[in-house]
Symmetry: C2
Amino acid sequence: MSTTEQISGASIGRLPLYLRELTELSDKGVATVSSEALAEASGVQSALLRRDLSQFGSYGTRGVGYNVQQLRRAILRIIGGTRVRRVIIVGAGNLGQALVRHAGFADLNFKVVGLVDVAPELVGTEVNGVVVTHPDRMIETIRSTGAELAVVATPASAAQEVVDLALEAGITSVLNMAPVALHVPADVAVRNVDFAQELQILSYHQARRRVVEHA
Amino acid sequence: MSTTEQISGASIGRLPLYLRELTELSDKGVATVSSEALAEASGVQSALLRRDLSQFGSYGTRGVGYNVQQLRRAILRIIGGTRVRRVIIVGAGNLGQALVRHAGFADLNFKVVGLVDVAPELVGTEVNGVVVTHPDRMIETIRSTGAELAVVATPASAAQEVVDLALEAGITSVLNMAPVALHVPADVAVRNVDFAQELQILSYHQARRRVVEHA
């Protein structure tokens, strides 16, 4: 995060959680929500939620709660969700296909415009209306579709090569699901999702739990 | 995290990254590694790595670096990776199937012992040697296999119900990939992976980037 950033990285990470619940409330026609109810539904402590939301102006009225529509629009504006962002997914295995079919992306203004895989039996096929193209054509695909975000769902061994190509084509944000650390210039944003890492963190909790149980 | 915890949650989250690189070095027969090289390969700042590792005793020698084998074993011990942990995956769609086939789990002593789905065409089939069972039999499956960790790869609408069943069967750690906040007792560990949330965080970076570019 640059020093000019007004909102902390951790707060930014929680805004999508609030947005998810606010969208559900909005769909149900709910006009206002208390900080406690929104925090509970989002799985966040209410003091933390109030601190997060106070960073970008208050949309709450004491005794009434937050205006659902206003707060929802404010969060959308901050995370740039008011314009469509085009996404290219690299790797059309089970994980890549799960992502192409992700029901929530379209609601959030993400549009999958490309799906890339090296497997000859996949190239040319369609997944959820998106044609699979070969990595040889990735730069062309990114440029012609105007993709801004790349999702890496390849094996670890292919990830860096794929990302280098994507950056060459102008991608500046990467969601990396390959279990490997990517090396990118400082101005490229990378988020890593590593399933094995998550299981290991849970394993640590399990190991501590045993110690406590047996103490 | 409880107050008796000696190691911070953020540090715990980075240990799997160090472990991944140490395992690779070990496989290559490398005996020692500098903190700078290990940090670079793990995608972590080297000062942060040194602080993380100093929390549980030093395995480094000035001018020589860390002993790869010793440090690897120490991290495995801390995250409980020295014993097999049985995992049940709920949801056998693309995401669940990607997880069952995850190449890295076995190396890390995770064993997928169950796969659960409600779809009649999936129940009874095998994915990577694991038979798909119906949620009606989930409690039985968890108890008979000794599963400790549950991975939720269902649609959001099914997630809470599935988790309630898993907890009833004795599960105490949950990896949640459904885009919904789960409600669990305080002694249950939950890690959330939400692809849409990750894309939104990147979208925030993209939005800021535009502002800077146009400033």
